[in-house]
């Protein structure tokens, strides 16, 4: 038996963290309890974060930013009107994350903390250039998501810190927000490749800004900068996308695993760009 601690506020949380060094944090439990079952972890205590109301908040009170609390379940985010209206890219990813049961269980903070390159919310958050807020008893800090996630399962989270939430800049209205996940089935699937794309076009249909983020093709989500650059100033047509796709295939560094080969991932990482083609007016 190990204690399960369920603080109702951050004020209650900090002393518990101090008194239970080595305790595992649990948000939805969909990752921790699976690893516990597999014998991969054996923490002396579990601190559940679900009772801390402020971790579940979603708001746009800070001008130009949308805040997504780490404790918000995927379902809560998916159904939130602010997410639906302002972050359609993230909403598309949430809609195909796991299954309804997994979405009811899992949280944004869990997805961030697990730091899997296949985490479905991560490629959108990379494309959105979100920041991750970490809190501790003594303060708060914000890191760009790319600086927060260091590798598979590795983050910049320090002892004494928790993931507080993600801040998503609402800098502009994108012409195109597109998420696609390639999995081996239509639900309960781990991404073999995912693409989150934000494209801004000028009135003439020429790309003004392009942000691409690819999941499951490297140790962390990959932003293929050369491909993004290559799209600038060009129409979003098959020719420019094919050129960018070639660059994407060079910029990703996938591995073979039982789900797919590196070769397939590389190929499809590029191919997915072609889905962005817009018919010429």
């Amino acid at each position: 038996m190990r204690p399960v601690l369920l603080p109702a506020s951050l004020e209650e949380l900090w002393p518990l963290m101090r008194d239970h060094p080595g305790a595992a944090f649990m948000a939805g439990g969909s990752d921790l309890l699976v690893r516990l079952r597999q014998g991969l972890v054996d923490p002396p205590a579990i601190i559940g974060l679900e009772g801390i109301a402020e971790l579940g908040l979603v708001h746009d009170e800070a001008p130009g930013w949308l805040f997504l609390g780490a404790g918000a379940s995927h379902t809560a985010l998916l159904e939130h009107s602010l997410v639906q209206r302002r972050l359609p890219l993230l909403a598309q990813a949430l809609a195909v994350l796991g299954s309804p049961l997994v979405r009811n269980q899992g949280t944004l903070g869990g997805n961030l903390g697990t730091a899997s390159p296949a985490g479905d919310t991560l490629s959108p958050l990379y494309a959105l250039e979100a920041q991750v807020e970490l809190r501790s008893a003594t303060g708060s800090r914000r890191l760009a998501i790319a600086d927060f996630i260091l590798g598979p399962g590795r983050t910049a989270l320090q002892a004494g810190e928790i993931i507080y939430g993600a801040w998503v800049p609402l800098a502009q209205d994108w012409s195109l927000a597109h998420f696609e996940k390639v999995g081996l089935r239509q639900a309960l699937a781990i991404a073999v490749v995912s693409l989150a794309a934000l494209i801004s076009l000028d009135d003439g249909g020429v790309v003004r800004e392009a942000r691409l983020a690819l999941g499951s093709v490297g140790p962390t989500v990959v932003r293929p900068r050369q491909a993004e650059q290559a799209l600038l100033g060009r129409p979003l047509d098959a020719a420019s996308l094919k050129a960018a796709a070639r660059l994407v295939r060079q910029e990703v560094s996938p591995i073979d695993d039982p789900r797919a080969s590196a070769h397939y991932r590389r190929q499809v990482a590029g191919n997915l760009l072609l889905r962005l083609a817009r018919p010429a007016d």
Partner: protein, 156 residues
């Protein structure tokens, strides 16, 4: 720990380890074996319960998390002498074969109908996508939810 929660409408007090899996608490300690376990890892949905009305995986919940909350298992769905209309519809539509997924399927469908009383076939499929069934191919499960919703094949 002494755990207080509401189980199928009844105030419940039970002594258990705080880190006992809820599926074990319900099945072994409280005898609610309608809660099934088929993977233990959140991948199949057989252990689904409603926690405060939301379908959750009882293999990925710890007993302490139930404190003060409301749990509904398949045993509590009908809440009386007659079967719940969804249970009736599952039986009538042929949605039950081995039946091991059925309790979780019924609860997931129940949660769907609570927020979308007239679901399309696609919406039903999405709502039960986390509940694996190895017997039916899902066709008649979707039929059953439509039947319970009072929708015919021709309604879109």
């Amino acid at each position: 720990m002494i755990l207080h929660f509401t189980l199928n409408g009844q105030a419940t007090r039970v002594e258990c380890d705080p880190d006992r899996r809820v599926v074990d608490l319900l099945r072994q300690d409280l005898g609610l074996t309608g809660v099934k376990e088929a993977c233990g890892a959140g991948e199949c949905g057989a252990c689904a319960i409603l926690l405060d009305g939301v379908p959750r995986l009882s293999c990925l919940l710890l007993a302490a998390q139930l404190a003060g909350h409301e749990v509904l298992t398949i045993e509590g769905l009908a809440g009386g002498e007659a079967p719940h209309p969804l249970q009736e519809a599952f039986a009538r539509a042929g949605a039950v074969q081995c039946g091991f997924c059925t309790p979780g399927m019924v609860l997931a469908s129940h949660a769907l109908l609570a927020r979308q009383p007239r679901p399309s076939r696609q919406e039903i499929a999405q709502a039960i996508a986390g509940n694996l069934c190895r017997c039916t191919g899902y066709h008649k499960i979707i039929d059953a939810v439509r039947l319970a919703a009072g929708l015919s094949e021709d309604d879109s």
